[in-house]
């Protein structure tokens, strides 16, 4: 049985709502938001009592659907660069990985394992890496959700694995994982010792 809460009776706070889908990696412009006063008990963790102008230029880290209240968790830290680079933390780089012709995935913000062929066969060069952008059929880089037919993915790779991915003997293989699996198991990583059997 679903818990039912009567809301909308508390005093109002000022919140910002997405007027259109806010796209990960693309800085917010003023026209993409509107503000309303809503009862405090409806706004949960939304950014409140902040003017739209203060959110202009902020970069979403995930798609924020039209009609959603904007939350700090939806956004990268203020000052983060726009575009795919927004997804690149210190110690990482963006690497372009060719996809099979007309690929339907991965999509921006997906998590993938990057398999490469090395001297001792295939291994995982980078685990649970985030896809920051994809190249469309025409080769143009897109940070928004794709429409399929992608030709390449821009994957955030740790510095230590960049050369291995770039210099792989064959095209790296991207295995899509559930976004909830952000933790790295370390299994089958390139350069790791094979597991000993008792």
């Amino acid at each position: 049985m679903l818990a039912l809460i009567l809301a909308g009776t508390a005093f109002a706070v000022h919140v910002n709502v997405a007027a259109v889908d806010l796209v990960p990696g693309q800085p917010i412009v003023a026209d993409q938001l509107y503000d309303v006063d809503m009862p405090e008990d409806l706004v949960a963790d939304a950014v409140s009592n902040v003017e739209i102008s203060e959110l202009v230029g902020r970069v979403p880290r995930q798609l924020v659907p039209k009609g959603s209240l904007v939350r700090e968790q939806h956004l990268f830290e203020a000052g983060t660069a726009a575009g795919p680079e927004a997804f690149v933390p210190d110690g990482h780089q963006l690497v372009r990985v060719e996809l099979p012709s007309g690929a339907d995935f991965p999509l921006p913000t997906d998590r993938v394992d990057v398999w490469v062929k090395g001297p001792e066969g295939y291994c995982i060069a980078a685990e649970a890496s985030i896809v920051a952008a994809v190249d469309g059929p025409d080769g143009a880089k897109m940070v928004k959700l794709g429409n399929g037919g992608m030709s390449a993915a821009w994957v955030v790779i740790p510095d230590a694995a960049v050369e291995r991915v770039r210099n792989a003997a064959k095209r790296p293989v991207l295995a899509l994982r559930n976004a909830i699996e952000v933790e790295k198991s370390g299994r089958l990583l390139c350069g790791s010792k094979p597991k000993e059997t008792p």
């Binding site: 679903l2 818990a3 909308g8 409806l42 009609g67 007309g102 995935f105 295939y122 994982r177 909830i180």
Partner: protein, 180 residues
């Protein structure tokens, strides 16, 4: 005096009738893409319709059992955009522990039932489900492809190690499951 108070109460009641409300479905915790939504993941709030955001669900029946395609934060109104399959992704969500890999296939590799059997390196069988297959026109060519779901990393390795999987035609071949 009593009459005056009663009149005042009635007048107040007339001035501020109880506001209509509608029920909206809200996430009780962070929900993740690919993970089926259960009833306990949700709660409902009754709100005045003037606060009703666009595209939200008004009944749990339309949400329970669905799979989000993006992260939904705790206490967010569940929005239809959270549950829509992104355009171009016909493979659906990825279950926890699964890996999806996309391969190009040839028409001759699809059997009469429209399924494919996958043979990995050294003629072992790749225990992978074909979760989607179809054709896409790309660069003027029609490309057949299969999306494979593999349940563990070893199998993913076997798929990857094959570079390009051989796809058996006709009857299912016999053989051992691929392992590392």
């Amino acid at each position: 005096m009593i009459g005056w108070m009663l009149g005042l109460t009635l007048a107040f009641a007339q001035e501020a009738p109880p506001e209509d409300t509608v029920m909206v479905i809200v996430s009780a915790r962070d929900l993740y893409q690919g993970v089926v939504i259960a009833e306990e993941d949700l709660y409902a709030v009754e709100i005045p319709p003037r606060y009703l955001p666009e595209g939200v669900f008004l009944s749990p029946d339309h949400v329970v059992g669905r799979v989000p395609h993006m992260r939904i934060l705790a206490n967010e109104f569940i929005n239809i955009r959270h549950l829509e399959t992104p355009a171009g992704r016909d493979a659906g969500g990825v279950e926890v522990g699964q890996r999806l890999i996309e391969l190009a296939i040839a028409p001759t590799q699809v059997d009469a039932e429209g399924t494919v059997t996958l043979v990995g390196p050294a003629a072992c069988l790749v225990a992978a489900d074909v979760v989607a297959q179809g054709a896409r026109v790309f660069g003027g060519k029609t490309i057949l492809k299969a999306v494979l779901a593999v349940e563990d990393l070893s199998l993913a390795a076997a798929v990857a190690a094959s570079g390009k999987l051989r796809i058996a035609r006709g009857a299912t071949p016999r053989g051992a499951k691929c392992t590392l």
